[in-house]
């Protein structure tokens, strides 16, 4: 039995090996091309950038696992941040805890809306969350009166706290990745997600009701976006109604690079995190070797397509 386990572990490690090698190759390449790449600052910079996209990617992995998609995470992050900032500025007693709780509630609420509509009317989540993407973004503008709101120190303390040289937001994101992976691979809930993504009708006929599970997944995605909003707002010490613009696509890209199938039933949170790292290293490295924004986008796009193709051929080679 122990042999089985370790071979399973080894298999998992090999699954990630490709991405780890790719990540190492990128770091090596940029280290050779840009003098300042292999420095503490670069990696601290990356560690500061990625917590909110990591949170979104964790939630996205869960949604993709059941064969859904959540296009609203960027806007939900914007709205939760806007609510957080606006409440903080009202300066009532315990403003910060109340504002934090409200931000989380907003995320959960948006996720609940997505989940309820998707499940109750059996709608494609693509359309429902596309609607939520507009709703939440609009609401973020309304809440902030379309202005970036500077909050300052109170919320900034979250980002300033650090442990062993790593910032609190980074630690939170890392914890979410580990917790997410454990839930996915070790719990009944995680197992049900894989099963629903593989064949939902089979799950239903086996006597497991997929509906509450699916609702919960969308709520989790909203909650993750809200935590991402808190981390994002804390770093910038301000609430910008445009925060998280395009984040959903970055999160999907990272998740897919990490080997999660858009068709559902297959995926990994750790893979998604490696995907986030690959995108972040690529972005930072390209900036340091002097690439402009347009060419950065072209290259990132090519990397996404290449990652999916590599995944396709790797999986096919395993088949008879």
């Amino acid at each position: 039995m122990s042999i089985k386990r370790s071979s399973g572990f080894l298999k998992t490690a090999i699954d990630y090996l490709g991405m780890i090698v790719a990540l190492g190759a990128l770091i090596l390449f940029f280290s050779l091309r840009a003098e300042n790449f292999l420095t503490r600052e670069t990696f601290q910079n990356i560690a500061n950038q990625i917590p909110s996209i990591t949170m979104a990617a964790v939630g996205m992995t869960f949604v993709l696992m059941i064969g859904g998609i959540d296009l609203s995470v960027g806007s939900v992050l914007g709205l939760a941040g806007a609510v957080l900032g606006t409440l903080c500025l009202l300066h009532f007693p315990f403003a910060l805890p109340v504002a934090l709780a409200a931000a989380l509630a907003v995320g959960l609420g948006c996720g609940l809306f997505n989940g309820l509509i998707t499940v109750r009317w059996n709608m494609p989540s693509f359309i429902v969350t596309l609607g939520m993407m507009e709703i939440a973004r609009g609401a973020a503008y309304i809440v902030t009166d379309s202005r970036t709101q500077y909050i300052g120190a109170p919320v900034g303390r979250i980002a300033d706290a650090s442990l062993a040289g790593l910032s609190l937001p980074f630690m939170i994101a890392l914890a979410a990745v580990i917790a997410g992976q454990v839930v996915l691979s070790r719990t009944v809930f995680g197992r049900h997600l894989v099963a629903i993504g593989t064949n939902e009708e089979a799950v239903r006929l086996s006597g497991i009701d997929p509906r509450p599970i699916k609702r919960l997944v969308f709520m989790l995605s909203g909650l993750m976006a809200a935590i991402g909003a808190i981390l994002h707002t804390a770093r910038l010490q301000s609430a910008d109604p445009n925060a998280g613009y395009g984040l959903e696509l970055q999160a999907i890209a990272a998740t897919v690079i990490g080997g999660t199938s858009l068709m559902g039933g297959r995926g990994s949170v750790i893979g998604a995190f490696l995907g986030v790292l690959i995108i972040a290293v690529l972005g930072t490295g390209l900036a340091q070797i002097g690439a402009q924004e347009p060419s950065k986008r072209v290259i990132t796009g090519l990397v996404i397509v290449a990652a999916v193709l590599i995944d396709y051929y790797r999986r096919r080679s395993g088949k008879p």
Binding site: T187, R191, A195, T198, E201, A202, G207
Partner: protein
Amino acid sequence: MNSGSVTLLDLNQISKAWPGVQALAQVDFDLAAGEVHALVGENGAGKSTLSKIICGLESPDGGAMKMEGAAYCPAGKRDAEARGVVMVMQEPNLIPTLTVAENIFLDMLPNRLGFVNFRETRDKARKVLAAAGIPHIDPSILVSQLSVSEQQMVMIAAALARTCRVLILDEPTASLTDREAELLFAQMTRLKAGGTGIIYISHRMEEIVRVADRVTVLRDGSKIATERAESLTTDRIVRLMVGRDAVLEDRGKPRSPGPVALRIEGLQNGERVCKVSFEARQGEILGFAGLIGSGRTETMRAIYGADRRQAGEIFFKDSTQPTAVSSPSDAVRQGMALLPEDRRGQGLLLPQSVRFNISLVMLDALARFGFIDRGEEQQRSLELSSRLNIKSAGIEQPVAELSGGNQQKVMLGRCLARGPEILIFDEPTRGIDIGARQEIYSLMRDLAGQGKTLLVVSSDLEELIVLCDRIAVMSKGRLKRIFERGQWTRDAIMAAALSEHLSTARGGSEAA
């Protein structure tokens, strides 16, 4: 070889394997000009695979095909059609949002520079429909407005619109009324006279004996026999299909069922389930016979809560209070389990392992605080896997790689995992080889012996006759009659299964 006529198609040692299944093993087959050659066999015997290879939808792993003496290896359906090989599928695969005319000429729409000439399309379609004996169908209406049997006739008409040397008809009469079937037979006679060879796939023995010149029997991917139709009887064909009376042996000891376990009253769901009422007892195997589309599957799904019920009540044991079963999860909580009709589409998680598939429904029992005890999971899955004699390379093998029989055993393992009292098996042995079939039969007998209640839907009448204590016969959504063991005959069951069709077919022809 057929003396005196030209061989159109000659298949030599054709083989085809799917992962875990040998769909065809070195099958020889030939078709002469002006001949109707019937292809018969149980589901999964290889009929569809063979016909798909002939019409270019699949390519064989081994063997050679010749058409009128020249090598024939179509690259696709269009390639085959260019050589004059046309197939009419069992399920109508017309495009519902296009008109009848557009569907008939879909791959050869009359056009000028890409712009479709709709008038010409319509006029040509009208001629095609008239030639096929269905001039009453308007070529300009949408296919979605046609009944299933009309769609089937349109498909046949579309096939006839192409110049065909070889026509493959896969269960063409499954959804046709008697009158429409007669039209089809008339068309076939006309085509035969013109030298077209017809490969005719059907489960209806009377039809085969009537229309076929030769009959080839397939079983488990191998050719069992090719014989002239006049020398065959229905019984002999069935025996060749099933193989050496294997299924007829071992009727088991008579059981003595216990008290009532399940009582259904006035079950209703559309036209497919009309006022169905029955009782099933503990330790009883209650079979459900009927034609395809007679509402047996729908009845089971309604009982299990998989489909919404319009009316009807379910009573467990001797309770006088009905129990609400509004979803499969309710049903499972009440001690039911369903083996679905389509195990690949509705049951299995194909890319996942045997363990994953079996343990799915018992995870809650295997978990503490939501975390799965993986050692326990492995052990319980191994137990079920060996109890059911699942042949795999270990319980971590994906079920997609297993044979049909072993896949079905995985499904049975999942059904048994929670120790249900009432088991609904829908086509439990469809497409499964004889060996696994016998194992499933003895499992079902064991379960009945333990006092479980089994509702078994099967299109294989022999199977029901061998297994069941009673057989309920459905026809067009109605439960017509329940036969006790010893009272039934094949003829009486078939008569009950056809009873509703006879009355409506008569009504239909009067109306027409």
